[in-house]
């Protein structure tokens, strides 16, 4: 079991930067495949050749019959399956780490530029550089405040490709296992191969116990396949939804405030977030209350509410051309709102309750961690 810690350490890092379904998949991999393989299955197959008995005294006959019956042992097959199925996630992790490293280099360069500019006193150039750097941050998919990777652009593509390849590997191994051994192991194997003088009866050791594990591992493989497909669907659906809402956003009348505030929404918590429209709308009960009494303010409310709706749709897709892979605190849409300043914690509480803040609630306790 200790040998799997090699792979386990790598996959822990992947676990940090995965979607929820990805985390579930990793947990299934760790517990139901690696752990079961390392502890139970290995000992069940431990005496597979020594207890493989053939009804003959001919030396060498058992060897060749065992070799014919089991070209590759189930356990070794599953080891290879786990390794090949985990590899695409590691490629994604490599890309993510590369992104992190590029981001750190960029930050260092920024700091150098800042130091240089402060010396020279050239503010405007620095501001330009800063804004360019912010653009790069957005493109790179790195959230400074949360320290998490945001799935967008090329990183999202890598993630999707890794899931596709993983799915293909699962299917290949499931089909491979079926082609090699079928589903169940037979107790009796009839073998005719030199130097066996005639067809001999060979008896597999512990066939029932092995069948239990074979069915279990097959079921877990199918479950992993299903999880991979679910993740693909989840990502694809989100992307399609976001594209739809983007085309909806393209019509000019609906959300002027949203477009202006989009850079602010995406910018991480380096600035004090402007008051959230949710503060105006939501109460502890989640009901709508209007703190305004005049007509103009309530007209503004209606406009802002429409804005919030649009933002809520986009939040479901993940605020523009990316999908949040982790629950990271980020400031909500800035809309004009004359509500009184709420204390920080209350603000965060409201975020959880309001519809529009779906994508930005804190990491929940029910997120699986391995």
């Amino acid at each position: 079991m200790g040998e799997w810690s090699f792979l386990g350490d790598f996959l822990e890092k992947v676990h940090k930067h995965s979607t929820v379904v990805g985390k579930v998949w990793l947990t299934v991999l760790f517990i139901f495949r690696m752990l079961v393989l390392g502890t139970a299955a290995e000992s069940s197959w431990g005496d597979e050749q020594s207890d493989f008995m053939c009804d003959t005294q001919q030396p060498g006959c058992e060897n060749v019959c065992y070799d014919k019956a089991f070209p590759i042992s189930h356990v070794r097959f599953w080891v290879l399956q786990i390794i090949f199925v985990s590899t695409p996630s590691l490629v994604y992790m490599g890309h993510a780490m590369h992104t992190v490293r590029m981001e750190e280099k960029r930050k260092m360069k920024e700091a150098e530029i800042e130091a240089r500019e402060n010396k020279n006193g050239g503010d405007t150039y620095y501001q330009q550089k800063c804004s360019v750097a912010k653009e790069e941050t957005k493109l790179s998919g790195w959230d400074e405040a949360g320290g998490q990777i945001i799935l967008r652009g090329s990183l999202l593509n890598t993630y999707v490709y890794s899931i596709l390849i993983r799915t293909a590997m699962e299917v290949a191994f499931i089909v491979g296992q079926y082609v090699l051994y079928g589903i169940f192991l037979e107790t009796l194997y009839i073998c005719q191969r030199a130097p066996c003088p005639h067809p001999v009866n060979c008896y597999v050791s512990r066939p029932t116990e092995k069948n239990v594990f074979i069915v279990f591992m097959l079921a877990v493989a199918v479950l992993s396949l299903f999880l991979s497909l679910a993740e693909l669907y989840h990502l694809g659906w989100k992307k399609a939804k976001e594209r739809c809402s983007r085309s909806y956003k393209a019509s000019p009348s609906t959300a002027p405030g949203r477009l202006e505030s989009a850079p602010q929404a995406e910018r991480p918590q380096m600035y004090t977030p402007p008051p959230d429209f949710n503060q105006c709308l939501s109460s502890p009960n989640g009901k709508f209350i209007s703190p305004f009494s005049n007509k103009m303010a309530s007209q503004q409310n209606t406009a802002n509410f429409a804005t919030e709706r649009v933002h809520g749709q986009e939040d479901a897709a993940g605020e523009g051309p990316f999908i949040k892979s982790s629950y990271v605190e980020s400031p909500e849409v800035a809309s004009e709102c004359a509500a009184p300043a709420f204390p920080e914690n209350y603000f965060n509480e409201k975020r959880r309750l309001s519809k529009a803040s779906r994508a930005s609630s804190k990491a929940r306790s029910d997120d699986l961690s391995v």
């Binding site: 200790g2 040998e3 799997w4 090699f6 792979l7 790598f10 290995e42 050749q49 020594s50 001919q58 030396p59 060498g60 058992e62 060897n63 060749v64 065992y66 070799d67 089991f70 070209p71 590759i72 042992s73 356990v75 070794r76 080891v79 290879l80 390794i83 985990s86 590899t87 590691l90 490599g94 590369h98 130097p195």
Partner: protein, 219 residues
């Protein structure tokens, strides 16, 4: 067998490697070390007990096994893994030497002791050449020792005290062959990675040198 030491060593190496170097470390960990420990070791566990000759003459099996497997495949690969990972230690030692030097002189001698430039670049290149050389050496040695990359099902043996040519049967030849091909393929992949890293570094630093010289000439 505890490979944790090698794992810790290679994790240290990872810090001072280029991108391709990190891929090499990942390939060595996953496709060689993990496969060796989780799968291959168990296949070769009882190879001597399961090696059977068609004879009752005592001692015949022993001498035949010894003749056909002077070094067991699995031990050969363990040795190969260790030897191939060791040159990376040179880089770690050099970085430690740099840091030590900075501490002794109490001043910042290097912009970044871990950055691959100057003397460390030479050490890195030497380690790459050694790694590649050792991989190729082990592959050729394996080929010569076992007459190719194959594991036959049946071998014929007529060494004393076997009274005549006897048939001896190797256990699990198909499974052993699958893992043999796998480990040879990963070995070749590691050679390719090392060679690409070597050419990338040489190209990068010769371009840097050339540009520096060009700028100097212009000035």
């Amino acid at each position: 067998m505890s490979w944790a030491f090698l794992r810790d060593l290679l994790s240290g190496v990872n810090k001072y490697s280029t991108g391709i170097g990190r891929i090499w470390v990942a390939v060595v960990f996953l496709f060689r070390l993990l496969v060796y420990v989780a799968a291959a070791e168990n296949i070769w566990k009882h190879e001597h007990d399961e090696f059977e000759c068609n004879i009752k003459q005592p001692g015949c099996e022993n001498v035949c096994f010894d003749h056909f497997f002077p070094v067991s495949h699995i031990r050969f690969w363990a040795l190969q893994l260790i030897m191939v990972s060791t040159p990376s230690l040179l880089v770690v030692f050099h970085v430690a030497y740099r840091e030590n030097r900075e501490k002794r002189h109490n001043q910042k001698l290097y912009k970044n002791p871990g950055k691959i430039d100057g003397g460390l670049l030479c050490t890195y290149l030497i380690s790459l050449i050694l790694k590649t050389g050792l991989e190729i050496f082990f592959l050729i040695l394996f080929y010569k020792l076992y007459n190719g990359f194959k594991i036959p099902r049946l071998v014929k043996c007529d060494i004393k005290p076997c009274p005549n040519t006897v048939d001896c049967y190797i256990s699990k030849p198909t499974e052993k062959m699958i893992f043999l091909y796998f480990l040879v393929a990963t070995s070749c992949l590691c050679i390719i990675l090392n060679l690409s890293e070597l050419s990338y570094l040489m190209f990068k630093y010769s371009t840097k040198c050339y540009l520096k010289r060009h700028v100097k000439n212009q000035q």
